[in-house]
């Protein structure tokens, strides 16, 4: 089925799940978390929407969105600096009686004036906690064909209790229709997890928001998916491609490390479906005499004089002479002095680790060093 993506509005929630990544999201939105050497999490939903043919996108923010604004700029890099459509950043709408939103419905209600201006017939909602390269076209096609009120993108697999306890589980009947919903349950094993991407018609969305607000209902998951799954037709779309769902610091670490395997990175970085991000005009990465780099993802602007193994280095990272960096994620502009040793470490932006330091932790609980810290 050929669908017209020109009449789809994309809505990206930049702040959902902010609490799951601990200190990494202390001063930034989930959407502006750095990922994969040169990206921020919001690059994935934005690029996916753009690559699927959506050219009108609203980004709903709540708090700490300064880094997000800086990253998105005029949205030119995502080809969203448009006269018709383009990118709209939707900060909390401050009016006398309003407060910061408590749930997805309230967030959407805050963006109603923007949503109402759109002439789109369908809406695709996405959070920033799933890193993947997804085509929304077949999902919209299934949504239209099935006549569903809501289509939720899901993945059925074997999950640990840690992975499930931050997620929404959608139980379905044999036709794929949602029959019951568990929100952040403490279970483990095979189950169908929501990937926090939903498709619905514009009409359904606006009616549902208005109706829910009138009844004082603020949670999309609880008040719509869970409470109304029997009277609404909520269908699932089983997503089989490569993805990483981020719900803890260790899952963030693992999702970055998974990209060291070309099998995985080739599924995320697909030639005709590029992941766009802010350009920062760094020089190429420089590999010095006597450096050793193995099994790593390196971004431009890095200067490597020491040893780097099984690591992800973001743009502008410097690794000094005689230094050993193993199993680390070093974010933008981290500087490591000479003869240091780092193992299982995540450094945030602009961290400075002086010479001769040894910092080691374990794969289960990688150590995190906050933005701008000097060690």
């Amino acid at each position: 089925m050929d669908v017209n993506m020109g009449n789809v509005l994309g809505l990206v929630f930049a702040n959902m799940h902010d609490t799951t990544l601990g200190d990494i999201t202390k001063n930034r939105t989930m959407g502006s978390v750095l990922f994969g050497g040169r990206y921020r999490l919001i690059d994935f939903p934005l690029s996916n929407m753009v690559n699927s043919g959506i050219s009108e996108i609203g980004v709903i923010t709540k708090s700490n969105y300064q880094s997000l604004l800086d990253h998105l700029g005029s949205a030119r890099e995502w080809d969203l600096a448009r006269k018709k459509g383009g990118l709209y950043i939707l900060p909390p709408f401050g009016s006398v009686e309003s407060t910061l939103y408590r749930g997805r419905i309230e967030a959407l209600y805050g963006a109603m004036s923007f949503i109402k201006c759109s002439r789109a017939k369908y809406v695709i909602l996405s959070d920033c906690d799933v890193v993947t390269n997804i085509d929304y076209k077949p999902i919209l096609a299934q949504h239209i064909e099935s006549g569903a009120d809501i289509t939720a993108v899901v993945h059925t697999g074997v999950y640990t209790s840690d992975e499930i306890k931050t997620s929404t589980v959608l139980n379905t009947d044999e036709s794929g229709r949602v029959s019951s919903v568990l929100i952040t349950p403490e279970i483990s094993g095979t189950c169908t997890l929501s990937l926090n991407m939903f498709v619905m018609s514009m009409e359904f969305l606006t009616e549902t928001i208005k109706d829910s607000m009138a009844r004082g209902l603020v949670s999309f998951e609880r008040n719509i998916l869970q409470d109304r799954c029997r009277d609404l037709k909520i269908m699932t779309y089983e997503y089989e491609n490569y993805f990483s769902k981020l719900n803890s610091v260790s899952s963030y670490f693992a999702a970055n490390m998974k990209l060291l395997d070309p099998e995985n990175s080739q599924k995320l970085f697909v030639a005709k479906r590029s992941i766009y991000t802010k350009v920062s005009d760094n020089a190429p990465a420089k590999y010095d005499l006597d450096c050793t780099v193995k099994n790593s993802l390196i971004a431009d602007g890095c200067i490597i004089e020491g040893e780097v193994e099984n690591s992800v280095l973001f743009r502008g990272v410097k690794v000094g002479k005689g230094t050993k960096v193993k199993n680390c994620i070093l974010m933008q502009d981290t500087v490591v002095g000479d003869n240091a040793e780092l193992n299982y470490l995540i450094t945030d932006k602009n961290v400075h680790i002086s010479a001769n330091h040894i910092l080691t932790s374990s794969p289960e609980y990688p150590m995190y060093v906050g933005k701008g810290a000097s060690v």
Partner: protein, 400 residues
């Protein structure tokens, strides 16, 4: 709306670059890839914006498609402006006929109306085939302080190299009193860098006069500068002491690339106050495999390296498979080096594939007859079959 500009830059980018052979068959020389993530023209364009010059005319003529597409609206260099910005200026047809640019001076002459729209006091004339970082503003200050009609940037070169350049002979006040083109016995070591600043009113008059002389070759070095000297205009030499290299030949292109990874050569691409900008290819970070070996090299986004790389420049999207060895070479964007292939002292063109176990180029120490040795070049968009051999100094245009 045309706001007055104090200074407008005109970048001569029309050259065929015939001495770069296989690399410029379909690409104008300024658009030839350089330094892993740049193209040659990124250097003068970045120098302009870093010097505060935001109005640049790029004069193109030969194979302009790639160059035009690359420059686009000038946004990567911050040259997409409401007032000014970058303009690609090809030759055009007029009521009195149509002419190709017949010389460097003629190219500027044909665009007098472009320059006049900004009513500038000064015009900087630049070349699209030089690698250097230079603050044109300092040169402009010098030009103003000297109240010169023309200022020519010069580099003090070693005496033995002076006969390769246009040499300026100056008095002790840096006034140019004479010049000679590639002299056998140079009287000075101040070589012209092909960078000029003119007081626009003066240059404008000399361009028009030169155009009326049917015999003239319409060239800055051969006509305009000599004419100005004969007329007694004040010509001064501006001494530049940084890194500068003309990359008009295969050897100099290769050398200039290698200079970027030589710690003793003073050109720093990592200085945040003087960034060299380029158009971004939108590719993931470089992926370095478990058996890769990389030393003394520059590598950029989208590369997948599983072999050995030493003393080399690896451009965006290059693939080096396991067991492949790259030494002292330049791999241009999208090149693929298959398993076991060996590339030594070579330039591999854009999107070219080197088959398994092929041998491209050789180290100079392995060749007895030094005249037989040189950098090997494999052109753009071709392939070398498995076990294929490209001899040192060879230049390949077609599949082998």
């Amino acid at each position: 709306m045309f706001n007055k500009k104090e200074c407008v830059a005109m970048l001569l980018a029309g050259g065929q670059g015939s001495r770069l052979y296989a690399l410029t068959q379909k690409v104008a020389k300024p658009a030839v890839p350089f330094g892993a993530k740049y193209r040659i023209i990124d250097f003068p364009l970045s120098n302009c914006i870093n010097s505060g010059i935001d109005t640049v005319g790029v004069l193109t003529q030969y194979q302009p498609l790639v160059l035009n597409e690359y420059i686009g609206n000038g946004q990567p260099w911050d040259l997409d402006r409401i007032h000014g910005g970058v303009y690609v200026l090809p030759p055009y047809q007029t009521a009195s006929g149509a002419d190709w640019y017949s010389g460097t001076a003629n190219a500027i002459y044909q665009n007098i109306s472009f320059i006049d729209r900004y009513d500038p006091e000064y015009v900087v004339v630049l070349s699209g085939d030089h690698i250097y970082k230079m603050d044109y503003n300092k040169m402009l200050d010098f030009h103003k302080a000297k109240e010169a009609a023309a200022t020519i940037a010069v580099l003090d070169v070693p005496k033995e190299e002076a006969s390769r350049f246009g040499i300026m002979i100056t008095d002790d006040q840096d006034n140019i009193i004479d010049f000679e083109e590639k002299p056998k016995n140079p009287r000075s070591t101040l070589a012209s860098m092909g960078i000029y600043i003119f007081t626009w009113k003066k240059l404008r008059a000399y361009l028009i006069a030169n155009e009326e002389d049917k015999e003239a070759s319409k060239d800055f070095g051969k006509n305009i500068i000599p004419d100005m000297r004969e007329a007694g205009e004040k010509l001064v030499a501006y001494r530049f002491d940084g890194y500068w290299k003309d990359v008009g030949t295969i050897d100099s292109l290769w050398e200039a690339n290698m200079d970027l990874i030589n710690p003793n050569i003073p050109i720093d691409l990592y200085d945040p106050s003087w960034k060299i900008y380029s158009r971004n290819p939108v590719l993931p970070p470089q992926s370095i495999g478990p058996n890769a070996q990389i030393q003394n090299s520059m590598v950029t986004e989208g590369c997948v390296i599983n072999g050995s790389v030493e003393f080399s420049m690896i451009s965006d999207g290059v693939i080096v498979e396991e067991g492949a060895e790259i030494y002292d070479s330049i791999l241009m964007p999208g090149a693929v080096i298959r398993k076991g292939a060996k590339v030594e002292y070579a330039i591999v063109g854009e999107n070219t594939e080197i088959g398994e176990n092929a041998q491209i180029g050789a180290r100079p120490e392995t060749i007895d007859d030094k005249d037989q040795w040189g950098v090997a070049v494999v052109g753009n968009n071709i392939s070398v079959s498995a076990n294929g051999v490209v001899a040192p100094k060879a230049i390949i245009y077609e599949n082998i």
